[in-house]
Amino acid sequence: MARLTPDNELLARRIVARYPEPKSATIPLCHLSQEQDGWLTEEGMAHVAELVGCTPAEVLGTASFYEMFKLHPVGRYCLNICTNISCRIVGGADLLARAEERLGVRAGGTTADGTITLEDVECIAACTEAPALQVNYRYVERVDEAALDALIDDLRSGSGRAAEFPPHGTLGLVRQELGADDLANVSPPEDQDVPGWFARHAEAAADGGSGS
């Protein structure tokens, strides 16, 4: 499977319709394609190009700029271990070495069973919770060797904490539906009332709620 499925293509067309320029949907559609296949395939990029009306080379140019679009197959779980300064001080590099040993692959590699891709990443902005790592970009914080071992076992067996992590590529953002009043640039600014989200935030704040 590589091109978008009929269902995903329908969703893709709805996403394209959110933007004044179809090409603006390039990144959301790349996410959708990656969510479908776990990585961004050539056929997927070519399909995105068709849907947004540009050339596949332009989609490749955009997708290859971003680390989080994987242009090669990755495991079901991307295990990103931070080895930048705060994490390194409290053992981030040791965690990476242990993960390499446990998984039998070097950073950047994928286990033979296709379950886990191990990555050595720069700061993931969780210094207060160092050492930190991510599984499919969901944080696991204050990790020690025992916790890492347990996590790897869970991910490999698909039990325990594995349930917390949807497969690589899954992003809630792609499937979020926007109300008509949330769309950008559907009418000239001078014709717009206060946007819906602004009013909702104000109401929530008045209720003492957290908003969002």
Partner: protein, 829 residues
């Protein structure tokens, strides 16, 4: 670098200080241009005067003081404002340039001795002029697979690339073929294509020309010569009639490269790949190098010029002039065309002469008031486009029109049998049934639109188009050419005459062949004399020079072929013409060439028609000819010979002069310049284009002839053909890469033509139950051809589209000179 600075007219002057000198420049223009025009050239890599600036390379940093003290600014991104103080040579600037070069060289290999760019490389030159002299870098440089083929014509050595964005900007901005793009990020950034989607643009060679390093190289030139061994001369491309200015570059007397020259009125430095790489045909081993004569057994035998010319002269002398005809001449220079006009009309005395082969337009189209390319592209203007797909036939004109539509607010109304490459940029597409164009034009001009539409165009579309024409702010410019080879050219002329009623309408005739306008202007057309003169009206000017002129108007190409087929011709001269391939009635061409007893052919190759000739005279090819050429606008520019012709090849005009002498005529020709001056002296409308006029510095890009309209005489409108509701109407077009002589003889271009298909509309495909690739039989009165289907949204319902001269069956097999339009039955094979 070699680009000419962006031309500017100062309408809103401001004064700035450049290196201590006050200079007057145009408000808002780019600082880099303003400085260059005022003798302060600023080094640059990414900036190109014909593309939007991007500020990628940082080489053009200068110190600019706008009142807050001097600061380094990239001069390609700064618009000039009053009182700017600019220093292009300060210590800070020199340090910045030094630093930028050091960074650019961090990963750039020092392989200049084996790099094709070495010797003409902006990076090499500017490193010598502004660079650090020594490298502090000891780190390993990047390595990539060398080279990768980004198209069949262009190779990329990625490690040499300095990421200036010129090629990628060209692809997206100038041609709108964004098939190359920056891929990856940071120090891993590279230019590349999508896997399996090559940079197959008709304009890909331009990226090689504008690459400021040796990253992009063209296969025909790679490793062929060193820049310091090249000899260059400026000339004009005659591959099509746009007339792009070029440099012909040779090494050891062989053409090795052609580059575009920035002629502001014409090609803006761009070339198409057929024009850029077609020089390979001139170098071809297949060239005719000595005269040939058919011997008794039927095969050709080499002969001497004196014998070949003697045989030709004998044939011409012993034949009634009314039984002699000349076809072709659009390949010739203006002077050769004039010499042949003088020979045929003056010396021999026949008017059966036509430079077109029934695939152009009636010559009266040149009598309509003319418009230049610049006028057609006037910002804010309105254009009615009544021609062939410009990207396929006149590629650089396509670039100008696309630029006008996307950048300068020109509204293009396509009035074509099917969508062309201009469709994405056109304001409106009006696609009428072939053969009924004049009725559509009449409705547009009058605004009188019947509710059921006209000629297959619905009323709403017609009304929008008529409204757009009525709302045009200035005079409407009309581009007129032969959009459909399966439709009589007379139909197009009829439509143009209708559109001439629009106030101030002017016309750009887009006849395709290299110098077809020059040949027609030189008199190679029935009823015409040089300089737009008419037989019967302007006889004196020419009979005084030639001795006589024909007494009655002769036949056009179809008429000549009909006469030949009926046994009414004894001698047919082919001036670089291939009727068997190019006449849109193959059956007529075959019957004609079978019947004529004597065929004389002047050509560079043995094409199918030359193969039928009795005497073959080898002539000079592009790059070997001195003289002038006339582009589709009527702009006369110099052709210069760069290389020596092979064998005993001669020029067309000297053959005409020799034959005139052998026929005992007092008319003779001594040189190209004398022929030019004789042509101009007798032609008031060519005033200002004499040989010496064209030598001036200001006429380096050519001189326009008089374009004012003249009375074309009475033009009988063609009655529209009957509609046969069971048939599809044929649209026959050309593509840039076809099986034509130039391409077949250019190894780099041969093989780029796509296989033939038959295009049908989405509606007709559904009706017939056809998908892409379904084999279809296209049946006409003349026969049937079978080709795979191509379903296209650009084709209107009721039409079928075939392309001439692709690898496969040819639409010309189905066409008849007697028909206004061609109806065919299409069914599944």
């Amino acid at each position: 670098m070699s680009e000419r600075p962006r031309p500017v007219t100062i309408t809103d002057p401001v004064t700035i200080t450049v290196d201590g000198r006050p200079v007057e420049v145009q408000r808002g223009e780019l600082l880099i241009d303003a400085c260059e025009r005022n003798d302060a050239y600023i080094p640059r890599f990414c900036y190109h005067p014909r593309m939007e600036p991007v500020g990628m390379c940082r080489m053009c940093l200068v110190e600019v003081d706008t009142g807050r003290g001097p600061a380094l600014q990239p001069s390609c991104m700064i618009n000039v404002a009053a009182d700017m103080v600019v220093d292009t040579t300060s210590e800070q600037v020199a340090k910045a340039q030094d630093g930028v070069l050091e960074f650019l060289l961090a990963n750039h290999p020092l392989d200049c001795p084996v790099c094709d760019k070495g010797g003409e490389c902006p990076l090499q030159d500017q490193t010598m002029a502004y660079g650090p002299g020594e490298s502090r870098w000891v780190e390993e440089k990047r390595h990539y697979e060398k080279p990768i083929e980004i198209s069949p014509l262009v190779l990329l050595d990625r490690e040499r690339c300095i990421l200036c964005d010129r090629c990628t900007r060209f692809a997206s901005e100038v041609t709108d073929d964004p098939l190359i793009h920056f891929v990856n990020r940071g120090s891993n950034t590279e230019v590349n294509t999508f896997p399996g989607e090559p940079f197959s643009s008709y304009f890909s060679g331009n990226t090689v020309q504008i690459c400021p390093v040796g990253a992009l190289t063209a296969t025909p030139y790679r490793f062929k010569a060193r820049p310091w061994d090249l000899e260059r001369t400026e000339s004009t491309c005659t591959t099509c009639s746009v007339g792009c200015r070029v440099t012909l570059e040779s090494s050891r007397d062989r053409l090795v490269r052609i580059n575009g020259v920035d002629a502001d009125a014409v090609n803006w430095s761009w070339l198409c790949d057929a024009g850029r790489f077609g020089f390979e045909a001139t170098n071809s081993e297949d060239r005719l190098t000595e005269p040939l004569r058919r011997v008794d057994g039927g095969s050709f035998e080499p002969t001497r010029w004196s014998q070949a010319l003697g045989a030709a002269a004998d044939a011409l002398r012993s034949t009634d002039p009314d039984r002699i005809a000349v076809l072709g001449g659009a390949r010739l220079s203006d002077e050769s065309a004039y010499a042949w006009a003088a020979l045929t009309k003056g010396v021999i005395g026949t008017d059966h002469v036509d430079a077109q082969l029934g695939d152009g337009l009636p010559v009266e189209v040149l009598d309509l008031p003319g418009a230049t390319i610049d006028e057609v592209c006037t910002p804010g203007g309105t254009v009615v486009y009544l021609g062939p797909d410009p990207k396929e036939e006149l590629p650089v004109l396509f670039l100008r029109l696309k630029h006008a539509a996307t950048r300068d607010g020109v509204r293009i109304i396509e009035l074509t049998p099917m969508a062309t490459s201009l469709a994405p940029y056109a304001a409106l597409g009006v696609h009428s049934r072939p053969g009924e164009l004049a009725a559509v034009a009449r409705a547009l001009v009058s605004g009188d639109v019947p509710s059921d539409g006209v000629a297959g165009v619905d009323a709403d579309t017609l009304r929008s188009a008529a409204d757009a024409l009525a709302a045009a702010s200035g005079p409407v410019r009309i581009v007129v050419g032969r959009a459909n080879l399966a439709e009589s050219g007379q139909v197009v002329l009829d439509a143009a005459v209708e559109l001439a009623a629009l106030p101030g309408a002017t016309f750009l005739p887009v006849l395709r062949r290299g110098n077809v306008r020059g040949a027609l202007t030189a008199g190679l057309s029935p009823g015409r004399l040089p300089g737009g003169g008419r037989l019967g009206r302007d006889d004196d000017a020419w009979s005084s020079r030639w001795g006589s002129v024909p007494v009655s108007t002769g036949r056009d190409a179809f008429g000549i072929l009909r006469a030949a087929a009926a046994g009414e011709l004894d001698v047919l001269v082919l001036l670089g013409a291939d009727p068997l391939s190019d006449v849109p009635d193959r059956d007529l061409a075959r019957r004609a060439l079978d019947r004529v007893p004597t065929i004389l052919a002047l050509d560079t190759f043995v094409n199918p028609s030359v193969a039928r000739a009795h005497v073959v005279l080898p002539v000079a090819a592009p790059g070997e000819v001195d003289g002038t050429t006339t582009n589709l606008e009527g702009r006369v520019s110099r052709l210069r010979a760069k290389v020596t012709s092979p064998g005993t090849v001669r020029t067309d005009w000297s053959i005409a002069a020799d034959l005139a002498r052998r026929l005992g005529s007092p008319w003779s020709a001594s040189s190209v310049g004398a022929l030019r001056d004789e042509l101009v002296a007798g032609s008031p409308r060519l005033a200002g284009t004499s040989w010496s006029d064209l030598e001036g510095a200001e006429s380096v890009d050519g001189v326009l002839a008089d374009l004012s309209g003249v009375d074309p005489g009475r033009i009988e409108p063609t009655p529209p053909p009957q509609i046969d509701s069971y048939s599809l109407r044929l649209v026959a077009t050309r593509e840039l890469y076809d099986g034509g002589e130039l391409l077949r003889r250019s190894p780099s271009l041969a093989g780029l033509a796509r296989p033939a298909t038959v295009g049908i509309s989405v509606g007709d495909a559904e009706r017939l139950g056809v998908a892409d690739g379904t084999p279809l039989v296209v049946r006409g009165e003349r026969g049937a051809i079978t080709l795979p289907a191509r379903v296209s949204a650009g084709i209107p319902r009721g039409s079928a589209h075939l392309v001439h001269r692709l690898d496969g069956s040819d639409p010309f097999e189905l066409l008849s000179a007697e028909q206004v339009a061609c109806d065919v039955r299409v069914e599944i094979a």
